[in-house]
């Protein structure tokens, strides 16, 4: 069946050269969609000197819009002034679907708002879990309610995330698809020569902050070292709680059994992982936890706290869950050590290749895009009146904001007509044409 090819714009504040879950997700998803024949353009804000248009692997075009990040890598929320540039990019690239990522990104919310004003189809992917009770979460949820009032479809990375998003935004659950992240199994291969099992090495790689359970580590490591004399720890990562870990090392004289590596650059994560047998994750809250997937792909058995969406991520024979309590975690580590002889890293790696695959993610995203385009495009009043349900005062405010946005768009259409914006022709990449000439000469 010849599938329809889409022209997709991915928009988020978080992209390369920043490293993280959302950035990797956007990059890998875009690459796989490009391989499936769609056209993908990424829009993000400028990073330092990196401003303007850049081309990445596979012909992925990235627009680094010249706005400075404001706080935590987010661009300054400007509401209406971002309409002209978004409109120009949408018309120039002849976009059919706009795909926004991450609820915390102001650029994403603005771009989705403007795209809906101009009548484009919109998909939103949420990558994080939020609470409901503190001031920051309450405001975030209201903004999310605004953006998702008129979105075509939404994607969440886990079922727990879907429940969280549905509660926060009031979307009907049928509109939310669950498509998980995946891991690049080609990059995370187990070691060719396995480290010897006479000494069991437990690896921890995370930022050493409260949220990632550094306090639990401080309690768990001495107990485990005391109970199992042949266990060694490797702790990678840095943060404010590093001081307490160093203190714990000194207090229990574990300098030769606990190795602190400091911050580990992303390129060296694999080499740290393959030197161990067990991966320990002690986070207090986790939306998806790619680190667990990377560890499993390298053939390590995982021990993790039962928080957030972690129970859904790996099958029971590849992960051992514990409550976020030191005693329970020590028991879980003991179970993992006893399970270790039955674990074969290569088998685990091959299983991970079956379980998580970026091409599968791209295909499922394609289905979401198909569903999006099947949605009827309603007229302005029907669409904008959906915003009135957002709240007694907020609904009316959002309604006014969207009407003003619509009027501004009409003004721009008169002032800078769409015909004057030059449309970008599609590029054919040289490596594809080289392959064809190679095939001809063979």
């Amino acid at each position: 069946m010849d599938r329809k090819k889409y022209r997709i714009m991915m928009v988020s504040d978080f992209f390369y050269p920043n490293f993280g879950g959302v950035e990797n997700h956007i990059y890998y998803l875009s690459q796989c969609l490009l391989k499936l024949g769609h056209k993908v353009v990424v829009v993000t804000h400028a990073y330092g000197n990196r401003s303007g248009v850049r081309y990445m692997t596979g012909g992925l075009k990235v627009y680094y819009v010249p706005w400075r990040p404001f706080v935590m890598q987010n661009s300054f929320p400007t509401l209406f002034p971002s309409l002209p540039i978004i409109r120009t990019i949408l018309i120039r690239e002849r976009i059919t679907i706009v795909h926004g990522h991450q609820a915390f990104s102001t650029l994403c919310h603005e771009a989705l708002m403007h795209s809906r004003t101009m009548g484009y189809r919109v998909v939103f992917t949420d990558h994080s879990l939020y609470g409901f009770s503190d001031a920051g979460s309450i405001h975030m949820n209201k903004v999310l309610q605004f953006t998702l009032a008129d979105v075509s479809q939404a994607i969440c990375v886990l079922h727990t995330s879907k429940e969280n998003t549905v509660l926060r935004s009031g979307l009907p659950p049928e509109k939310v698809f669950v498509i998980p992240n995946a891991v690049d199994t080609a990059m995370f291969k187990p070691a060719v020569v396995q480290p010897s099992r006479s000494e069991i090495v437990i690896v921890v790689i995370s930022r050493l902050v409260y949220r990632k359970g550094a306090d639990l580590l401080v309690e768990v490591i001495p107990d485990v070292c005391r109970l199992h004399p042949n266990v060694r720890f490797i702790v990678g990562g840095d943060g404010p709680k590093r001081v307490w870990l160093e203190e714990m090392r000194e207090k229990h004289s574990l300098q030769d059994r606990v190795e602190m590596l400091g911050a580990v650059p992303h390129a060296q994560v694999r080499s740290v992982l393959i030197s161990g047998h067990i991966f320990l994750n002690s986070s207090l809250t986790e939306a998806f936890c790619i680190a667990i997937l990377e560890a499993a792909s390298c053939g390590l058995l995982t021990v993790s706290t039962r928080v957030g969406g972690v129970p859904e991520v790996l099958p029971d024979d590849m992960i051992i869950l514990a409550e976020p309590d030191p005693g329970d975690m020590v028991l879980a580590i003991e179970r993992a050590i006893s399970m270790l002889p039955k674990v074969d890293p290569q088998v685990m790696h091959h299983r991970m290749r079956e379980l998580y695959n970026w091409h599968d993610v791209a295909k499922r995203t394609e289905i979401v895009y198909d569903r999006t385009l099947k949605c009827p495009n309603q007229n302005l009043l029907v669409r904008v009146s959906r915003y009135l349900y957002c709240g007694v005062w907020a609904g009316k405010l959002f309604f006014v904001v969207m009407i003003v946005d619509f009027l501004f768009w009409r003004l721009l259409e008169l002032w800078q007509p769409a015909e004057d914006i030059e449309e970008m022709p599609d590029l054919t990449l040289p490596h594809i044409s080289n392959k064809e000439t190679l095939q001809k000469t063979e």
Partner: protein, 304 residues
Amino acid sequence: MDHHLASDSPQVRPRWRKVAYGGMQPGFDDNHTDESFLEGMVMNANVVRRDMLKVMLDSVSISEYLCIVALVVLVWTYTLESTIDENRLLCIDVSLLVSGFLILLFTREKISLSILVHHYFLNISFFIMGLYVLAPIYQTLTRSISSDSIWALTVSLLVIHLFLHDYSESTVNAPGALKNPALTSCISVNASVVASVFIASRLPSRLHVFAIMLFSLQVFLFGPLVTCCIKKYSFRLHLCFSISLMVVTLSFVYMLRCLLFVLLLSLLVFVNVVCPYWLIRIQEYKFEINGPWDEAKLCFAIRD
């Protein structure tokens, strides 16, 4: 892990599982919503169900403190108008001190005469000595500032003090208290002390200043401790004390000015009757959501 059933009949499809691995589950779309959707959600787990009468009785402590502050302002006004002279003020101070000690002695279970002498008596004597020595400084502190600014500042400081005051327990704790006071209660105590200093600086003689400072600081620093002890000892005693205090305050304010009496009365009615009713009404809309997405709470004490 295989979730394909080795089934012969094509109609039976495998059960939907709440997992993320393994790609699309056969027979189910990605937006399939199971019956187990939101089954981990817990609503209103920590919400306290309130009773109107209990809330009204609890709000009596707020109005009691409002009356205490009103009485202090009354004494200030009379002193500034020279209706009360310094000797009378000193008598008021001494009687307040003595009655405060007696109340503490009778209502605290763990106190004994030796603790009273050693801890309180010594500290209070040092305190009084220090105040007397520093009185000339307060007297000349705001000589260059106009009276209007002083009244405006004092009123705003008192409003801040009332707003941020810790109505549940006292900031100045008796020996053996465990919890440290919160930031807002420290700010409120400071605001009241500064307001007292401003008023004291408007008075003519050194003795005046000393007497009014002693009075104000006694009430603001030790008043909450005394009322807290009464409340802990017996609720009935607390109720009687508060109601009599309210009656006394209202009558004194009536004698001073009628408009202020009306204001104070309406404020007390608002705090005691209207606010509890409002709180009970809007409690029905409380919707607290907890679930697996919440951050886990550690059961042991962490160090920062």
